[in-house]
Symmetry: C2
Subunit: 346 residues, 2 copies
């Protein structure tokens, strides 16, 4: 029997993490009788006097959200990372090691209205969001080694507020995920003298098996090693190392890319498709001066849904204790997203 | 200001994964208005003619579950891993690497009754479960490099069947989590000439800050580097490398340990406390002949709940893209579990 990746089990390698994943396409048809989720399709009001992210509303902390008209950024009232605080003592026991953690956490509201999102904003309004991301990267990147912009969309992803917003956690330390990625990108560059993700995007554009969307500047694809059923990566066609390196053309095209990606996701199961998303690029702060030719700036979407608006992929027992596993292949997932319209269902 | 780990932010090192985690104890009081879960406290019937895991019931596959009286093991009707199948072709492209995956997936029913669990079974019946785990480890360990026993408990952990059962996925490959652990255990042993987890358990027994329960043979503790709010490890007091190395005394004491651990979990929020749990020991199959003095057999519980039976910890944006983060310290979590009674609320 000839091997067919859409039918036969195999492992795939993630060169960014130096990890493998199990692909079990033969299992895609198993019945599901487990927990289902509620996904909201409900309309939210444009303004809610009790929503702390709406203009003019007083937050739990007593601070008042101003009457903003475009984006609005503030320091999280309950930040996981503070700028100040005593440092843990040094330990010489390898089993009980602590290190200082300094940082700051901010919230970025995308727009004053609660009932809008990338798909309903104008390109200009989405560019305003991208501009805000750039300003924050620039500002926080001066001091902090790592600036993580991320958005949790939907209650299923722990997001408790329907207002369109994301978060930034900037830190004095290099968090695990980007630190491991940095090491693997560097090794690849040392060996092949090319940025891994630039090679990758070029090869994917030739193979055309996992592309979801592309324009002149950006490619959205389901990576060969995707773990989440509909995971995607957003990659630049022209190599840049950091978010702050985008030029005008890339910025405009990125706004369009974000709109199309969200529209396709929402169209897939006709819902507000939940996900966590965020951006990775070369490290900043004390490392701004160093050369990072091996880094390619990119975005990631990690959506939990698997079969419908209510059935998610559980990353549980085997995944937590052993290794990630998927049934639906990356190629099938990419095909399903590719065939979705580029504008959102009404 | 003096550093207080229960008040001040810091990073902690996980020597098993070679990763760090952010601890933000100052944030423990932030309000939660996000998604809540439903946790079942509902009684299930002893026998349900539609439950495929009950004795005498015909499963979706057409196979009939026999009239078993103790434990019952069968090959999963929709296995993620098959014993046979064509292998993926070799690739010389470092970005598109596939490898063969062979394996088998089994289901172990703990008992014929659906309405029982570790806390309501007799010690003898729990020993029967441990014996079944041992038989399976022995049998599958002859052929497979890694035999992963795991249980997903509760709908929140993707478990679709209330019948008391667990799973085994045995594989020809070394999955990421134990492979990385193997490497780190080996490095520690090379450096200190002692098994890391034996050193660890001895130090924890001296410190007594994170112990949840102990008896003559086993210690249950919240590891210093725990990621999930109420994560625990089950460690032997006498060093053994594999599950199959337990002697009679350890086996009896393990049965008791399992009963107490589940009772404490259930008592904490007065519910059927959801979790994924499983066992790790030295690799098997082709590696059975090799010496693994650096391995200590141990168990892990990964429960998702944070504040109550309905509020879980979301491992989302920052965690997926950057690094694990927790508010509640390991010491506080251990204290909360320690003070729970050793028998389950009625
Ligand atoms: O118990 P099931 O139905 O086999 O499946 C469950 O556990 C598996 C192993 O952790 C996961 O891959 C699935 O996502 C989860 O739903
Ligand atoms: O959006 P919040 O309320 O800050 O919090 C949410 O995102 C954080 C960062 O991913 C997680 O640590 C929390 O578990 C989650 O509930």
């Amino acid at each position: 029997m000839a091997f067919n990746p859409n039918e036969h089990q195999h492992l795939r390698y993630n060169p960014l993490k130096d990890e493998w994943l199990v692909v079990s396409p033969h299992r895609a048809l198993r019945p599901w009788s487990g927990q289902t989720e509620t996904t909201s399709t409900e309309e939210v009001p444009r303004f809610d006097p009790n929503n702390p992210l709406c203009p003019g509303v007083t937050r739990t902390s007593g601070k008042v959200t101003p009457n903003y008209e475009s984006t609005y950024v503030f320091t999280n009232d309950f930040p996981a990372l503070l700028q100040e605080g005593p440092d843990p003592p040094k330990s010489d026991d390898p089993l009980f090691q602590a290190k200082p953690a300094k940082g700051t956490c901010r919230v970025i509201c995308y727009h004053p209205h609660t009932d809008v999102y990338f798909t309903s904003l104008t390109v200009k309004e989405v560019v305003a969001v991208v501009d805000e991301w750039l300003r924050q990267m620039e500002e926080l990147g001066r001091d902090y080694l790592w600036v993580q912009i991320f958005e949790n969309r939907g209650a299923m992803m722990g997001c408790s507020n329907p207002h369109p917003h994301c978060q930034i956690w900037a830190s004095s330390f290099f968090p695990n995920e980007p630190r491991i990625k940095d090491g693997n990108l560097r090794k690849y560059y040392d060996k092949y003298k090319r940025p891994m993700l630039q090679d990758y995007v070029e090869k994917e554009l030739q193979k055309r098996e996992r592309i979801v969307y592309e324009n002149d500047e950006w490619v959205v694809l389901v990576p060969y090693w995707a773990v989440w059923p509909f995971e995607t990566m957003v990659l630049p066609k022209r190599q840049i190392q950091r978010f702050t390196d985008v030029d005008c053309k890339q910025k405009e095209a990125l706004a369009k890319t974000l709109q199309v990606t969200v529209a396709k996701y929402d169209n897939l199961f006709k819902c507000k498709f939940p996900y966590s998303m965020g951006w990775h690029g070369a490290p900043t702060g004390p490392l701004l001066g160093e050369c990072h030719p091996y880094w390619t700036f990119h975005g990631m979407y990690y959506p939990p849904l698997l079969r419908s608006a209510t059935v998610k992929k559980f990353m549980v027992g085997y995944e937590l204790l052993a290794q990630a596993q998927r049934d639906l292949t990356a190629e099938k997932a990419a095909g399903l997203l590719r065939e979705q319209p580029e504008t959102r269902f009404a």
